[in-house]
C-alpha cells in the first residue's frame, strides 16, 4: 500500500506569536519550526504503523520552499521512506491542496493522510479539498484507522457522536487525537533521514482563492480580580452582575 502523508510546518507550540511589515506577515524572528503536531503525531505515525503491519511505503509530501527541507528531514527521521516537496510558497489552503492533488493523481496513492488542522491556520481545509479535487471519499477527523485489503475502517467525530464507518480505497483521511502515539526519532532515524530521497517537483499553475491581508493580536487582559477563597458568594455575584455570564 502506497501512503502519502501531507505535512505542514508550524511554529513550535511554545512560540510567542508576533507580526511584522505593518502586521501583514508572521514574524519568523526566533521562531523554531516543527512538523505540525497533528500531521506528525497522528497522520505520520499511523501511516508508519499501517506500513509495519501490512507492507508498502510511506511518502511525506509538503508544499513549500527549500527552507522547509529541515522540517521534512525531521519527519523523515521518524521513519518515512522518502519525501516530495512541491516547490512553491503555499499561499492558501486551496492552492496548497490543488498542488498536492495534482501530484497525488499522477502517483497512484492508496491512502492520503493529513492532520486534522495546522496549529497556525486552524482551517481544517486541505484534506477535504484534496479529496474533492481527486473525486475521492474523505473521512474527516478520524480517531482510529485500520486497513484490510482495499477497505479502510475508521472511527470519526461527526455531529452527534463517533461514527464507525467503512470506505473503499483510495481515500483521503484527516487524523485527530487518538489515532496514534507520538514517536520520538532516535539517533539512527536522524542519521538515516539525511540520505533518504527528498524529491523536489515543480508547482502546477493554480490561483489561490483567499489571502491573509493582515493580522491582529488579542487585546491584553485587564488585571485579574482576586477573590477570597472563603467567599465564593462574591464570585457568583460578580459573575452575575459584573461579568453577566450566569
Amino acid at each position: 500500500m502506497k501512503i502519502l502523508v501531507c505535512i505542514s510546518k508550524s511554529p513550535d507550540t511554545t512560540s510567542k506569536i508576533a507580526f511584522t511589515d505593518g502586521n501583514s506577515k508572521f514574524d519568523e524572528n526566533g521562531v523554531q519550526y516543527i512538523v505540525n503536531p497533528y500531521d506528525e503525531w497522528y497522520a505520520l505515525v499511523r501511516a508508519l504503523e499501517l506500513k509495519e503491519a501490512g507492507g508498502g511505503s510511506v511518502t511525506i509530501c509538503t508544499v513549500g520552499s527549500a527552507t522547509d527541507d529541515a522540517v521534512i528531514r525531521k519527519a523523515l527521521a521518524i521513519g518515512a521512506d522518502d519525501a516530495v516537496r512541491i516547490d512553491c510558497e503555499p499561499t492558501d489552503a486551496f492552492y496548497t491542496a490543488m498542488q498536492i492533488a495534482e501530484y497525488a493523481k499522477a502517483n497512484d496513492y492508496t491512502l492520503v493522510l493529513t492532520g486534522k488542522e495546522t496549529i497556525n491556520y486552524n482551517g481544517s481545509q486541505v484534506g477535504g479539498m484534496i479529496a474533492e479535487a481527486m473525486d475521492l471519499p474523505f473521512i474527516s477527523l478520524a480517531t482510529k484507522l485500520d486497513v484490510a485489503g482495499s477497505t479502510a475502517t475508521a472511527e470519526a467525530e461527526v455531529a452527534g457522536g463517533i461514527q464507525i464507518c467503512e470506505v473503499e480505497l483510495p481515500a483521503v483521511i484527516s487524523c485527530a487525537k487518538g489515532m496514534a502515539e507520538q514517536r520520538i526519532p532516535n539517533m539512527r532515524g536522524i542519521m538515516a533521514a539525511r540520505t533518504k530521497p527528498l524529491n523536489v517537483v515543480a508547482a502546477a499553475d493554480i490561483q489561490a482563492l483567499t489571502t491573509f491581508e493582515s493580522y491582529e493580536l488579542p487585546d491584553a487582559k485587564s488585571a485579574c480580580k482576586m477573590i477570597d477563597p472563603e467567599n465564593m458568594d462574591e464570585l457568583v455575584s460578580l459573575l452575575h452582575t459584573e461579568a453577566k455570564v450566569i
Partner: protein, 312 residues
Amino acid sequence: MSVLVYINSNSGIAKSAMEAVTYGKKLGGEVTVVTTGSADDTALSALGEYGASKIMVDRSVTSEDPQQITSIIASAAETTGATTVVFSHDLTAKAVAPRLSVRMKAGLVSGAIDIPQGDTIKVNVFSGKAMGLVKVASEKRIISLLPNSLQPETGGDKCSVEEFNGNAGDARIKVLDTKKPEGDIPLPEAELVVSAGRGLKGPENWGMVEALAVELGAATACSRPVADIGWRPHHEHVGQTGVAIRPNLYIAAGISGAIQHLAGVNGSKVIVVINTDEEAPFFKAADYGIVGDAFEVIPRLTEALKKFKASN
C-alpha cells in the same frame, strides 16, 4: 445578494445553527437555509425568526456523507443563485465546506469570528493566539463561523419549508455504527465550561468538577496531561492540540496555564482560575482569580451557586 446557510439538523436545531442564520441575515440580502437531517417542519420553520426567508430540506440523506451533503448544497446554491454559503464551523462543516469550496470555486474562510469589515473577514489563527483578516479573491465565498462568536437574534416570522431534491448521489462512506458522546453538551458549542488539570491529583477526584458543571449547566473539559495519562477522555482536552473553545465562561481549576493551554481557551469571554500557586501563569490571562485549594474551593463554589439559584 443571496445567502445560503447550511444546517445539519440530524440532532435537532443547535444554537450554532441559529447563530449561522443570524450571521447570514447580517450579511444583507435574502437568506435561504438548506438542510439535511431529520428535524421536523415546525422546528425548521422557526429558523425564519432568525432571518431565514425559506428552508429547503433534502431528507434523502440522513448520514454524514460529506460528498452527498456537498452535492446538495451545491445544487441549492445553483437554484437560489447564492454567492455566499455560511456554515457553523462544526464537525460537519470541517468535512463538507472544503469539498464545496473546490466544487464551487469559492474561497473558504474558516473559523470566522465576526461579520465582514469592508472586504475582509476576521478569523481565529495560531490556535487563538492571534486573529487574521482574510480577503476572498473569488466571486463566490464560503464562510464557516466559529460557534459562540455572535448571539442569535430574532425578529422575523416563521418561514416556509420546502422539500428539495439536491441530487445527492450515492454515499461512498458506509456507516457501520454511531456511538453517542458521553457528555450532554458538545464542548465546542458549550457556553459555560468547567475544566480541571493535574492539580486534581487523580481521576477519582473529578466528581466535584462534574457536580459544579451540573449545577452550572456547563460542559466539562481538561488539560492535555490529564487526557494523556488517561484520567479523562481525549475529546475533553482543550488547548492548542486539543479542542479550541470560546465559551462565555471558562472555569479552570488546578491548571497552571501553559501557553499551549491558553491558546485553546483565550477566546473565552470570562476566565476564572482556581490554583494553589499564586504564581501560576494562568492568573495573567484570568478575569477572576482564586488562590486556594481546588478541593475546598470547587465544592464551596457549587454551594454558592445553589444558594444563588434558589434566591433568583
